[in-house]
């Protein structure tokens, strides 16, 4: 991607349109990161220190998607560290699947921590767009688990 003025304008418009606080594009790695209203300001971090890539982190959400799709998208993030389970038992159906409508109280998954199964609720109404974490794998605090289109 070559940066030119029209692109800057395009990106600025994007940011305004989707209420993004940061767009970062790494031409070398092809990584794209979009950030919305971050609670903590990491912006001061110089880009040249490569961000640590925690081994436990699942595949990052394809952040380009919201740009292509005009509907705002939010994520349901892991409230604790633990192991992510999509269904209440190995053979059972998943709590939610893509396309399901959820309310704030809908249980979307379980995170096991210290032998305790913790139910995770959607915390907002909407439609599940994607599952971002891998079943039976570790998730860290704040890791996005589901993409959700708010109702």
């Amino acid at each position: 991607m070559n940066t030119d003025v029209s692109q800057v304008e395009f990106l600025a418009k994007l940011m305004a349109e989707y209420d993004l606080s940061e767009i970062s594009i790494d031409e070398t790695s092809g990584k794209i990161r979009l950030r919305r209203g971050a609670a903590i300001d990491f912006d001061a971090m110089p880009q040249y220190i490569p961000a640590a890539a925690p081994a436990v982190q699942a595949a990052a959400p394809a952040a380009a998607a919201p740009v292509a799709d005009a509907t705002p998208i939010e994520a349901i993030a892991a409230p604790i560290v633990g192991t992510f389970y999509q269904s209440p038992a190995p053979d059972a159906a998943p709590f939610v699947k893509v396309g399901d409508k959820v309310t704030a109280d809908t249980v979307v998954c379980i995170i096991e921590a210290m032998k305790v199964m913790n139910e995770v609720k959607a915390e907002r109404a909407g439609v599940i767009k994607r599952v971002l974490a891998e079943n039976a794998h570790a998730v860290e605090f704040g890791q996005p688990l589901f993409e959700i289109t708010p109702a």
Binding site: A39, F42, I49, V81, A113, M114, A138, V139, F141
Partner: protein, 449 residues
Amino acid sequence: MFSSILIANRGEIALRIVRACRELGIHSVVAYSQADERTLAVEMADEAICIGPPPASASYLLVERLIAAAEVCDVDAIHPGYGFLAENPHFAEVCEQCNITFIGPSPAAIRRMGNKAEARRTAAAANVPIIPGSPGVIENDRDALTLAREMGYPVMVKASAGGGGKGMRVVHNDGSLVQSFHAARIEAEKAFGLADVYIEKLIERPKHVEIQLIGDKHGNVVHLGERDCSLQRRHQKLIEESPCPVLDEELRNQMGEAAVRVAKSVGYSTAGTVEFLLGADRSFYFMEMNTRIQVEHPVTEMVTGIDLMREQILTAAGEPLSFTQDDVALKGHAIEVRINAEDAHRNFAPCPGTIEFYGVPGGPGVRVDSHAYSGYTIPPYYDSMIGKLIVHAPTRELAIVRAHRALSEFLIHGVTTTVDFAGTLLDLEPFRSGQYDTGTLERWLESTR
């Protein structure tokens, strides 16, 4: 040996543990809060896992978060560093229950040393001098006189409800004791609604001298000489050195052996420190034991050539100590200067913010342990220490000169730090002469106001 260790800490000590793991071939996993994502420990570790939001109460202090992180990362052991959960016996117990080695002492040893009264009793039982004091409240001036004569003047009469110097009297002889006893009671009654007072021997202008020791799980405990940590402001150490400028070999051995006795009496099996008050008359008194690695451990590493962090991990894994007491010798002189993001001219107010440029000193005899870098943002959630400068030289005089030289090379732009203030401290006459005590810095700060 461990194949993987979770580091339940942040900042420079997390990085110190990562370094030791790297050199031991152990996979390191840093558990970090959202405020510490962009730190060198996270960057340098083999793996990192976010455990919670910035406040320590929601991340570094949450036992269940750390255990969950340890479990999903499948580690063999947890290193707690210092602070946070390092001296929390419950955390050590939960680790034990989860079959994760806690790199530190047994929960029982932490408990015994964590309780001040019990630590005092333990030391006394190990035939280590403690600061003489009345066992409880003194009921009348007759008992006060008897006790004061027993422990020898000067003594302090202190209010049991204590605080802020109220109901406190320094007494130098029988004559003023009775008067002070009653005056203190009246003052205490007024200030706290409780007249109870007790008596403690006053150690005048004492030094804070601590003995570093390390044990293993085979019953060995070795002491590694002392550190003089008397330069303090509000009980915060600012400069530490080894050897202590007023100690000789005889006193060093006496204090070292006393420290080992305390440690052995609680079955101590890891790195730890016994803190003493040292009087001008060479008498020393047990204050407390820190059951963890300490901020100032590099000072001892520099003079002994022993890698304490490495030994701490190895002994936790069941290895015997790689050396005996006879192998330990202090070589040269080491000084540690803490670099804090604080404004010495504004009552040491913390100065979080972004470090625009960070240039560390180098060259001979200089070691820097720091998690900062050009562009690092110091978060407002934790303590203000951003690094430690440790210098080593053949003599104390040369070590001071080297510390000055290294400080002049420490370039930190964007936030206010104690770099310049540290240079001032090195120049204070009591520091130069080595005749400084735990009150020196406060007295000097008072005099410059």
